[in-house]
C-alpha cells in the first residue's frame, strides 16, 4: 500500500485560528450565560454536533482557584509560617505577599478565561497582560476528566481537565464549571469525536467490532461494577495504607512535632517497671507489630473505599467511562483506541483470593507517579480489583477483537543461562552484604550474608523462570515478577521505537535486552524491556517486531 494514500484525510483544517484571538472580549461586561452566544464560524467539514458558544468559568471558580493555590503552596507556606514564627518580620511580609499574588492571579484567571468550540477546535483564552490563546483540535482530545469534591457538590460545579497526547499536564484545566456546562462541553467534544472516528480511518481501529458502532451507537454499555465487598477485600490485601503511614511519619518528623514525640517516648520508658523479662518484651514487640500491620490493612481498605466507592465502568462506542469516589467523585473517559499499553497486576495475596488489577497507559496526561485523583483513576487505577476470571472479557473491552488466553500464548523463556547469571549476581550481592556485616560486627556479621544466600539463590532462579516474553500477530506480551506478577501487553500499532542493547556482560553470556517504547506515560509501572534474552533470539525478534510494527500502520490506513 502506498504511503500517501490518505494524506488528504489526515490533515484537519485549522482555519480561523488567527481570527479567533480578536474576538475575545476581556472586560466582564460580556457575561454569557451558558450557550447564549453561539459561534457562527462553522468551517471545515460539516458536523452533526451542536456548536458550543462562548463560555466562561462558574462564578464560584474564584473560591476553588484560591483553594487550589493554597493547597499547591502548602509546603512553602508552612515553611514561611515556621520561619515567621521563628524570626518574625520579613517572613510575614513574604508570606503575605505570596498569598496576595496567588489571589490576584486567581482573580485574573477567573475574569479572563473564556472557552468555546469553534469549527473543529476547542479554543481557550486567558490572561490579562500575557494573553494565552490556546487551540486544541477536538479530535486530538484524549479525554475529559472531571473531579468533584464535596465542596464542589454544594455549588453543583466540578473541575474539568481536557487532555491531549502531549506533555504531563492537562492541556487545559477548567476550574470550575457548572454541571450543565460540563454536559454541553462533553457532548460537543465527544459527538464530534464520534462523527470523526466513524468517518475517518479510526473506524478501522475498532477492527472486528466496527459493526457494533451502528448498533449501540450512543447507548452506554455497562462493563463492570465493583461491589463494595470486593473493594474492601482488595483494600485489605493491598498495602496502600503505607501512603497514610508515610503522611503520618512525615508529620511526626516535622521539626515542631519531633521534640514532643521523643519526649513522650522517654516518659513511656520511664513508666515501664524494671523487672520485665525479654520474653515479655518480645511479646510486646510482636503485639505492636501485629496491631501496626492490621492498622495498615484497615487504612488500605479505607483508602480504597474513599477512592473507588461505587466504581462503575461503562462503554459508549469507543470511550470507556469510569466513575467512582466516595466524597470526591471522579469521572474519567478513556477512548480505547488511545490505549497504548495494558498491564495486569497480580499481587501474591491477590492471587490467593483470585483478584487482579488492570492499569492502562494512554499518551500524555498521567505523569508516571502522579497520585492525583483524575490522572490516577483511569490509568494507574483503571480497574483496581476484578476477579481473575473476568480478565479476558475486560481486555477484549479495552482492545476490541482481542481474544485473550494467557495460557495459549507462545511464552518464550529467557536465555537458558539467565538463571545462572542471576544466581551469580545474588552470590556477589550476598558477598557484599556479608562483607558489610562483618565490617560492622566483626566477625560474626558475615552470617547475615550467608543466611541470605539460599533465599537469594532461590529467588534468582524463580525470577528467571517467571520472566517470559510472547509475540502474536497482533501484540507483544511481557510478564515478570515473582511476588507481584505483572503482565503487560502492547500492540504493534502502538510501538514507537524498539531497542536492542547488549552490554559487555551480555556479550559474554550471549544475551541481549529487547526494549519496546510506546507513547504510554508510565502509570502501569511496568516497562516492556526484556533483559537476558538469548542474543540470537533477541536479534531475530527485533527484526520481526520492527517489520510488523511498520506494517501495522499500513493496515490501519
Amino acid at each position: 500500500m502506498p504511503f500517501n494514500e490518505n494524506a488528504s484525510e489526515s490533515d484537519p483544517e485549522h482555519a480561523g485560528i488567527q481570527l479567533a484571538g480578536n474576538q475575545v472580549q476581556l472586560a466582564g461586561n460580556q457575561v454569557a450565560a451558558s450557550g447564549e452566544l453561539p459561534d457562527s464560524s462553522m468551517e471545515g467539514p460539516p458536523v452533526l454536533a451542536p456548536p458550543l458558544g462562548l463560555q466562561r468559568l462558574h462564578p464560584t471558580s474564584f473560591l476553588f482557584e484560591v483553594a487550589s493555590q493554597v493547597r499547591r503552596n502548602l509546603i512553602p507556606a508552612a515553611f514561611a509560617v515556621f520561619f515567621a514564627a521563628k524570626d518574625g518580620g520579613i517572613w510575614f511580609v513574604v508570606a503575605a505577599f505570596a498569598t496576595l499574588v496567588a489571589l490576584v492571579f486567581s482573580l485574573i484567571r477567573y475574569f479572563t478565561l473564556r472557552f468555546r468550540i469553534q469549527g473543529e477546535d476547542l479554543v481557550v483564552d486567558e490572561g490579562l497582560v500575557f494573553r494565552r490563546h490556546r487551540t486544541v483540535p477536538v479530535h486530538r482530545i484524549q479525554n475529559i476528566d472531571i473531579v468533584q469534591n464535596p465542596l464542589h457538590r454544594v455549588f453543583r460545579v466540578a473541575e474539568v481537565r481536557v487532555e491531549t497526547a502531549s506533555g504531563n499536564e492537562p492541556e487545559a484545566t477548567l476550574r470550575v464549571l457548572a454541571m450543565s456546562q460540563i454536559d454541553e462541553l462533553r457532548q460537543a467534544v465527544f459527538n464530534r469525536t464520534i462523527t470523526n472516528s466513524s468517518l475517518g480511518s479510526d473506524n478501522l481501529v475498532l477492527g472486528e467490532n466496527s459493526g457494533e458502532v451502528q448498533e449501540d451507537s450512543l447507548a452506554d454499555r455497562l462493563i463492570i461494577v465493583i461491589p463494595t465487598s470486593r473493594l474492601i477485600l482488595a483494600g485489605l490485601l493491598s498495602d496502600r495504607g503505607l501512603v497514610v503511614v508515610s503522611v503520618i511519619a512525615g508529620l511526626l518528623f516535622q521539626p515542631d512535632f519531633r521534640g514532643k514525640v521523643s519526649f513522650d517516648a522517654e516518659e513511656w520508658i520511664k513508666r515501664i517497671p524494671d523487672g520485665v523479662s525479654w520474653l515479655a518484651w518480645t511479646a510486646i514487640g510482636i503485639g505492636v507489630f501485629i496491631v501496626f500491620a492490621l492498622l495498615l490493612r484497615v487504612f488500605s481498605a479505607a483508602w480504597y473505599l474513599l477512592r473507588f466507592h461505587g466504581f462503575r465502568m461503562e462503554r459508549r462506542v469507543d470511550d470507556i467511562r469510569i466513575r467512582c469516589g466516595l466524597f470526591t467523585k471522579v469521572a474519567a473517559t478513556i477512548p480505547r483506541r488511545r490505549v497504548q499499553l495494558i498491564s495486569v497486576h497480580r499481587t501474591w495475596l491477590g492471587r490467593y483470593f483470585g483478584l487482579a488489577s488492570i492499569r492502562v497507559e494512554t499518551a500524555g496526561g498521567a505523569g508516571g507517579d502522579s497520585e492525583d485523583a483524575t490522572t490516577s483513576v483511569g490509568r494507574k487505577w483503571f480497574l483496581p480489583a476484578l476477579p481473575e476470571s473476568e480478565v479476558p472479557r475486560i481486555l477484549a473491552e479495552i482492545r476490541p477483537g482481542l481474544k485473550w488466553n494467557e495460557g495459549e500464548l507462545d511464552w518464550h523463556p529467557l536465555s537458558p543461562k539467565a538463571g545462572r547469571r542471576m544466581v551469580r549476581f545474588s552470590f556477589i550481592f550476598c558477598l557484599v552484604i556479608g562483607a558489610v556485616g562483618a565490617f560492622v560486627w566483626r566477625p560474626w556479621g558475615f552470617i547475615f550474608g550467608l543466611a541470605l544466600l539460599p533465599v537469594a539463590i532461590w529467588y534468582a532462579q524463580k525470577k528467571a523462570k517467571a520472566t517470559r516474553y510472547a509475540r502474536t500477530q497482533e501484540l507483544i506480551a511481557y510478564r515478570s515478577g515473582l511476588l507481584t506478577r505483572k503482565l503487560s501487553i502492547t500492540f504493534f500499532d502502538k510501538i514507537q521505537t524498539l531497542h536492542l542493547t547488549q552490554s559487555p556482560f551480555d556479550r559474554r553470556w550471549k544475551m541481549a535486552t529487547l526494549a519496546i517504547d510506546t507513547a504510554g506515560s508510565g502509570p502501569a509501572d511496568h516497562v516492556i524491556s526484556v533483559e537476558m534474552l538469548d542474543a540470537d533470539f533477541a536479534k531475530a525478534e527485533h527484526e520481526a517486531v520492527a517489520e510488523r510494527a511498520a506494517q501495522a500502520i499500513w493496515q490501519l490506513s
Partner: protein, 204 residues
C-alpha cells in the same frame, strides 16, 4: 506503488562538499532504492561519513587541551601552596600526565573504532541505527511513528560538512533518537524522506 520522492540535493554554501566523499554517502540509492516495500528483511546498513573520525578527534583534542589547561592551572596552585616540598607536585604532576596520556590514547583509537561499529539504514520499514563499542545498541523507528525531525549543525560540524539528525517520536522512554555524524546532505535528505509519508491519522 509509489516511491517516496527524494528531494534534490541542496547545496549548502557553507558546506565544503569535496570530491573526497564517496558516492555511496550521498546515498539517494540507500534511501530510495530499498524503500519500495520491505520484502527483504535483511537490513542494508550504511556507514557514517568517514570525516566523522576527524571531527571526533578534533573535538577530542580541544577537550583534552581544556583539561590540560585546567591541570596546569591546578598544578601551579599546588606548586605554590606546597613550594618547598617537591613530592606533592611530582606525584600530582605524574598522575595528570598519566590521565592525559590515557585521554590521548582514547582519542586516537576510539573514533575509528566507534565509526566502524556505527551504521544506519533507512528503508520502507523505517529508520534503524546501530552504535556502541562495548555497550551496543540497535534502535528501530518505524517510519510512520516519526513525529518530526530536526537537523542540527554546530559550527565545527559545519566545517566538516556533518550534521546531527534528531528523530522525534511520540514515545516516552526514548522519544528522541539522535543520529550524529551524518553527512549534512544525507541528513537533509533523511529529514525530508522520513516525514514525507503521512499515511495515517494519529500515531497515538
Amino acid at each position: 506503488m509509489e516511491e517516496p520522492v527524494v528531494t534534490p540535493l541542496m547545496r549548502d554554501e557553507a558546506t565544503s562538499v569535496s570530491d573526497t566523499i564517496q558516492p555511496d554517502f550521498l546515498l539517494v540509492a540507500g534511501i530510495a532504492a530499498s524503500s519500495g516495500r520491505a520484502e527483504q528483511s535483511e537490513t542494508q546498513w550504511q556507514s557514517f561519513d568517514p570525516r566523522n573520525i576527524d571531527y571526533e578527534r578534533t573535538a577530542g583534542w580541544i577537550a583534552i587541551a581544556v583539561v590540560g589547561l585546567i591541570m596546569v592551572f591546578g598544578l601551579t596552585i599546588t606548586g605554590i601552596a606546597t613550594w618547598p616540598n617537591w613530592m606533592v607536585l611530582g606525584i600530582a604532576g605524574s598522575v595528570c600526565l598519566l590521565v592525559l596520556g590515557f585521554l590521548v590514547f582514547i582519542n586516537i583509537y576510539i573514533p575509528p573504532l566507534s565509526h566502524s561499529r556505527a551504521a544506519w539504514s533507512c528503508d520502507a520499514r523505517g529508520f534503524q541505527i546501530r552504535k556502541g563499542i562495548w555497550w551496543r545498541k540497535v534502535t528501530s523507528v518505524p517510519r510512520s511513528r516519526v513525529q518530526h525531525t530536526d537537523v542540527h549543525q554546530g559550527p565545527m560540524q559545519r566545517s566538516y560538512g556533518l550534521a546531527k539528525l534528531t528523530i522525534h517520536t511520540a514515545g516516552t522512554q526514548n522519544s528522541t533518537v539522535e543520529v550524529e555524524g551524518l553527512n549534512h546532505q544525507v541528513a537533509m535528505q533523511l529529514r525530508d524522506v522520513l516525514i514525507e509519508d503521512r499515511s495515517f491519522q494519529d500515531a497515538v
